[in-house]
Symmetry: C2
Subunit: 95 residues, 2 copies
């Protein structure tokens, strides 16, 4: 199992637009084979920090996800709403 944490620092005034696009992303991604869970989370102290937390069965499923129409069309929109580059970590479970 692979865990992905993708943290975005969204521009002031662009949070709602980010969430609208993220909603489409979440809905389409949850239907993908190999996707265990996929959700969008908002920081309680800074609402401009929006983070996808994802679980994938294996690397193949994650790589396939990056080739989907929704990924290649929506990710550039999300990035255009970011104030600065986000933090992306791909994890394996230790404990």
């Amino acid at each position: 199992m692979i865990k992905v944490v993708s943290k975005h620092y969204v521009k002031e005034g662009k949070v709602e637009e980010f969430i609208e696009n993220a909603r489409k992303m979440v809905e389409a991604t949850l239907k993908e084979e190999g996707c265990i869970s996929y959700g969008l989370f908002q920081d309680e102290n800074d609402p401009k920090i929006l983070t996808f937390i994802e679980e994938w069965e294996d690397t193949e499923a994650l790589e396939r996800h990056k080739t989907t129409e929704h990924f290649t069309s929506i990710v550039p929109i999300l990035k255009s709403l970011d104030e600065k580059p986000g933090d992306l970590n791909i994890y394996k479970k230790l404990i």
Copy 2:
């Protein structure tokens, strides 16, 4: 539901010691009331990045966690093994 992502940047040569202490933390925390899930994850590209990903029923459960004997005794050990301050985010689920 509250999601916590607590990312540690561990000192070179201290990863195993960090994991040993984290193991005690995970075992004790999973027994706490209000803890939905609690695990330690290692970055696939940088094994010195070790991250707790946690789910709590509510703020009260998370606050109670911070007063437990295992939290107050183990967290200072983990911090002493960190190369620099970590990133802590407390999230609510949006989508």
